[in-house]
């Protein structure tokens, strides 16, 4: 190979990677999920509810292992539990769903239950790592179709409530005065987050949903202050990190979720450095 990294080499690497079906599948699944995660995560970060998202994923762990107990696919257990938990958190109003301590206690309990379910269904234990840390290389075509359908449902639901969601997130008092049903919006949003978390967990696992749902949107909000540009950057960044993560994993043999987590963190910290430089530039510009 030598020092020459020309176009030919890069093309070779890519053709080499895509000769395997499981790589095609991984890219498709990660792509679908990354876009949903980036977009839904943007609102999660805007609302300051990232911890609630984290809690939902932990509750999902209990759902996934519980589903194994009764012979269902983990995804449906994840969706069932996170959706129920999201709706309950929303109905208990924002005041409670933003309480870190209450959420912390519930998520710890959920992880405990997940462990209990594993304990009673020992043959399922091999899948525990996949649920916790994801296993995107094991995704099959059926799963891709399911993820695509879930993605459409998630994004359509989000688009339907987007306008009042933004209003209620930024200015709840005014939104209430203008007739926005705050509780319905926050409940519907957490249900959407629950779906996104369930999808995201299929790729990076319940413990690492932050890598796609919080890292990219948080970085996006550092580099751009516009609404649509922020959404676009969040989705694009999540997509880039997911795909690059898989590519990196393919060539290094490191776990995919680690690579995505690494890129997510790098992306966020790189973005942190951006505004300072910009502000300085603005000052210079003014003089």
């Amino acid at each position: 190979m030598g020092t020459d990294m020309g176009m030919g080499t890069i093309t070779d690497i890519i053709t080499d990677m895509f000769q395997y079906d499981f790589m095609d599948n991984a890219f498709a699944a990660a792509g679908i999920v990354a876009v949903v995660s980036g977009v839904v995560g943007y609102f999660l970060v805007m609302r300051g509810q990232t911890f609630a998202g984290h809690a939902l994923s932990h509750i999902g762990f209990a759902g996934a292992t519980g589903a194994g107990l009764i012979g269902l696919a983990p995804l449906w257990g994840l969706i069932g539990f996170t959706l129920a938990a999201g709706i309950v958190m929303g109905l208990l109003s924002e005041r409670i769903s933003n309480r870190d301590i209450a959420i912390g206690v519930v998520l710890a309990l959920a992880l405990g239950f997940g462990l209990l379910f594993l304990h009673y269904y020992t043959s399922f234990a091999t899948q525990a790592t996949a649920i916790l840390f994801g296993n995107v290389l094991a995704v099959d075509r059926g799963m891709i179709a399911t993820l695509a359908m879930l993605a459409i449902v998630t994004l359509v639901a989000l688009a339907a409530i987007m306008r009042p969601l933004i209003f209620a997130s930024l200015q709840p008092e005014l939104a209430e005065a203008k007739g926005v049903p705050l509780r319905f919006i926050s409940t519907a949003f957490l249900a959407i987050v629950a779906l996104a978390v369930s999808e995201c967990a299929q790729i990076v696992g319940v413990l690492l949903v932050f890598t796609l749902m919080v890292g990219p949107p948080a970085a996006a909000q550092r580099v751009t202050t516009g609404l649509w540009s922020g959404l676009f950057v969040a989705a694009a960044l999540a997509l880039a990190e997911a795909w690059l993560g898989i590519t990196l994993a393919y060539h290094t043999d490191w776990p995919v979720s680690f690579c995505i987590a690494l890129l997510s963190a790098l992306g966020y910290f790189a973005a942190l450095a951006v505004p300072a430089r910009r502000a300085a530039a603005a000052v210079i510009h003014r003089h």
């Binding site: 987007m162 306008r163 009042p164 209003f167 209620a168 930024l170 005065a177 909000q221 516009g226 609404l227």
Partner: protein
């Protein structure tokens, strides 16, 4: 025409009667200073006018009708302003979120809306805030942004709930001047609640003083008197006038100062200027 009218109206918040059998009428184009101790019901009255809280008795009319939630004729600047101080969103998108924000679907910024936002920002001298992130704005700038937002859609009635809180003395005066100028120009009726009377004396037409379940509406000379305020505070109140300022004292202490320190205890008023004007 009366913009806001209470006819033997009672307003109850939970088990607490905020207003009992109150009757007064606010006329078109008036600038009303809404004063009174904490918990006297300034915010509650505004929420009732917004149609968020029906009166428990009597009649409350806004523009001659029963108040309805989401009335586009009312501009509102709420007191509990949960503007996330580290929100990395530009002023334009922040304001745009309130335009038809109650409608379903995805937001889009029509050219006419964009022009209206620009015009309104210019009106309060805040055009440069459109492209700046909220997290980079000072408290005074954020307040101006919110003021611009409350003027969006050309309301005929403006409810400003403690708009001076969290502003330093200079920005307080600027805010009052802007509100006065815009509202006189456009003939907007204003309910402006505040802790301090003196800053508003040159601006307000009449005072609505709330306290002890009662409401008294009148000129400063009619309302800011020992007998009236003693009833509203349920305490012996002295009114001292000196150098064009009016001090309302309870047992020798300025009630506004007492209110201020009280406010701090509740975590309001970040960066509040304590020693001003006295």
């Amino acid at each position: 025409m009366n913009v806001v009218e209470l006819d033997h109206a009672s307003i109850t918040l939970g088990a607490r009667r905020v207003l009992a059998d109150a009757s007064f009428a606010i006329r078109d184009g008036e600038f009303i200073g809404v004063l009174g101790p904490n918990g006297a019901g300034k915010t509650t009255l505004m929420r009732a006018i917004l149609g968020l809280l029906p009166p428990s008795g009597g009649v409350l009319r806004v523009f001659g009708n029963v108040p309805r939630r989401g009335d586009p004729g009312i501009g509102y600047l709420p007191q509990a302003r949960t503007v996330l101080p580290d929100l990395r969103m530009r002023g334009l998108d922040f304001i745009a979120s309130s335009l038809d924000g109650e409608r379903w679907g995805m937001p889009r910024l029509a050219r006419a809306d964009r022009a209206m936002i620009d015009d309104t920002l210019a009106l309060v001298g805040a055009r440069d805030l459109a492209d700046r992130a909220l997290s980079d704005m000072s408290g005074g700038e954020r307040q101006r942004l919110l003021l611009a937002q409350s003027l969006m859609g050309r309301p005929k009635l403006l409810l400003l709930d403690e708009p001076l809180i969290s502003l330093d003395a200079r920005h307080q005066e600027v805010a009052i001047d802007v509100v006065r100028k815009v509202c006189r120009e456009r003939g907007i009726t204003v309910l402006f609640s505040a802790h301090e009377l003196n800053q508003l004396i040159g601006t307000l037409d009449r005072v609505l003083y709330l306290g002890n379940g009662r409401a008294v509406l009148g000129t400063v000379d009619e309302v800011i008197t020992a007998p009236v305020l003693s009833k509203l505070y349920d305490a012996d109140i002295e009114v001292v006038r000196a150098g064009g300022h009016i001090f309302v004292l309870s047992r020798g202490r300025d009630v506004e100062q007492v209110e201020h320190s009280h406010d701090h205890g509740h975590g309001h008023g970040h960066g509040h200027d304590h020693g001003h004007h006295h």
